[in-house]
Symmetry: C2
Subunit: 363 residues, 2 copies
DNA sequence: TTTTGTAATCGTAACGTTACGATTGCATCT
DNA sequence: AGATGCAATCGTAACGTTACGATTACAAAA
């Protein structure tokens, strides 16, 4: 079928491209227009064409117009790899995301994040690569691999822990990055985070407004920075109300529905059960509802519940639940924005963003 | 518990001080080892080093060993772009995923898919790039852009429609791809799909076993191939039971909780309300539960419900609901496997996979 | 001895892009 | 006239890799 035409004649190094046995790698790739073709067509040099396409001030406006017209006509798109090889820039951002192989549903909560990131990245002319890690993967090693592969212009890291070594590593290696979450290192680094302290504080206050004094709190892993912040906000609200903290009401490891259900069931069975519950997220809520249902208890009457609900799941359950939400798509967008400005100006001021939760009015 | 600093920030953006260290763009990139360095160090040619690293039969075994040792010692990692430029292969796969900006929760259902894909891709030595599209984007144009950018060795396309033009386009352009879903074109192409016909058939049968004759069916968009299959399975079960199909019981556009709730509420208000419901997915279920709750009706008593529950969400609700699930992580893995074999052997037999749903035993 | 064969290695030329210094042509100033 | 300045364009050399043909060295066959 295809007849291969030598496009190199003008440059003297003629070569015959033989097509053997119908099988060839990628027709698209082979027939893609490139700078050389456009240059030949317009009797210009490759250099001038290259410059014209990026509106170089050295090129005559009329030439720029001609070049752009030709580029459009032949469907020219810059070759990513040629450019990356030359410039060292890849126009790719990588998000290192831990996947919970324990429970897929908990991963679900971060899809809006991915959505926000991909869309913002696309808009900024980057493509977004997802590097998902399993609980078996060492987070530091994952970052190191990204560093070595240097296939991204910037990195998004998530799930920060106390004194997170990745932050130092990335700063040392001068790799542009942005963190979703904060750590307690004494260095400046760009991050976007949710104000979990404030959210937990307000959630606890809302439960108190309902008359609750024995308030249970669900947390994820204890090392998790977000969990630490939640605990801190909870503690602040309790201290203000003069209620001593009962450690038995604080549950760790609430990343599955099962763990949440089991934990809350045990609490309900105790001699002095909680009357209020602040959930870690929608998953924790479902587990708690399960435990309540098993005992014939009604949320909003027997136990007051407040939960994060960025997915609008809780709002749709036929149960009376207090909800607050965080615009996770917005967080994703913001992450990319910050990362982008970091790439453009690596020595500029370190940008940090703290996103507030939105509580529904207390009926 | 760690000490979390940085309590000073307000809402929105906050700028902190810049840590101005004086250095250059990307230290990592500059100091990366390459073939030339290794060659120089061992007094070999770049060619031999290149071949040695891929166990070329032309290279002496002892040389291979020396080269590999040196490569390891200096931390050599092949430069992606150099290789891609030369070979035309990128070691990147791209998944074109439509994002539902209408309702994030519905996107959530496809995270296990992403998880499966990323992990399988990593294992196979590819990185996975997510190209997410909004409802505004033209699916065909999105694929075309991917084709032109030729930055991926293979494509995953989803959400197939009748006579999907993307399949022909990709076949014509000889771009390796795999579809999640099927279309009714008379050509062979690789796909992985869920057997929605069978699932809907069995779901309907289960509702009949509960004594239901007026069975409502939720569908997504009518053009959607998955929806068409569901309708077909539903129709088969109804025909077998000799029950005429009442079009008013079939709901389209059930991709949000709101639409599901509104639709089911209207059905319940009708003169001859349904006694059974087959949900489109977990979202549709939540909407339906909402409608039931509003009317004080109980699922499993007043109305029997069967739903897809790959996320295990439905199983955890305190309500009696029949569930079936599909291993979406497995589907994701399978997609990548098929795509990979397609890339390796573009002219080999076209692989197709049909994944069955798993029903929970009918109590 | 010369020839032939073979295993191991090398050199060069691409892939498409951009950076940089060189080179035109032409108008303007001594 | 000759020199100078400037705008516009060009040529070459990379970036790191791989494909391909060429070139060794050396042993075995003639």
């Amino acid at each position: 079928m295809g007849v291969w035409i030598d496009r190199d004649v003008e440059f003297g190094n003629a070569m015959a491209v033989s097509k053997s046995a119908g099988a060839f790698a990628n027709e698209v790739g082979r027939t893609m227009a490139n700078l050389k073709q456009i240059a030949a067509e317009l009797s210009l040099s490759v250099t001038t064409v290259s410059r014209a396409l990026k509106d170089g001030p050295e090129v005559q406006p009329s030439t720029i117009a001609r070049v752009k017209e030709a580029a459009k006509r032949v469907g020219y798109l810059p070759n990513h790899h040629g450019r990356a090889l030359k410039t060292g820039r890849t126009q790719t951002l990588t998000a290192v995301l831990p996947m919970e192989t324990r429970d897929h549903l908990s991963d679900l909560l971060k899809l809006p994040l991915i959505e926000g990131m991909t869309l913002a990245a696309r808009q900024a002319g980057y493509s977004l690569s997802i590097y998902s890690t399993t609980p078996d993967d060492d987070p530091v090693e994952s970052v190191q691999r990204q560093l070595q592969a240097r296939s991204a212009d910037g990195l998004v890291i998530t799930r920060l822990v106390s004194a997170d070594p990745r932050v130092k590593l990335l700063l040392d290696q001068r790799m542009p990055f942005v963190a979703f979450g904060r750590t307690d290192l004494d260095v400046a680094y760009p991050y976007v985070d949710v104000d979990n302290e404030q959210i937990a504080y307000e959630a606890t206050r809302r439960l108190m407004d309902k008359g609750c004094r024995r308030i249970a709190l669900q947390l994820l892993v204890p090392e998790d920075q977000a969990s630490a912040m939640r605990l801190s906000g909870y503690g602040r609200a309790m201290a203000e109300a003069g209620i001593p903290i009962d450690q038995s009401l604080i549950g760790h490891g609430m990343f599955t529905m099962e763990s949440s259900a089991g934990w809350f069931d045990r609490l309900l069975a105790s001699s002095d059960p909680p009357t209020g519950l602040a959930c870690a997220n929608e998953l924790g809520l479902l587990g708690a509802l399960h435990a309540l249902g098993k005992r014939g208890l009604t949320p909003g009457r027997d136990v007051h519940i407040v939960t994060r609900d960025s997915t609008r799941l809780a709002r749709f359950l036929p149960a009376k639940i207090g909800v607050h939400s965080v615009d996770m798509t917005g967080v994703g967008r913001k992450l990319i924005e910050v990362l982008e400005s970091r790439i453009i100006n690596p020595l500029g001021p370190v940008e940090t963003v703290l996103v507030q939760g939105r509580f529904e009015p207390a009926e």
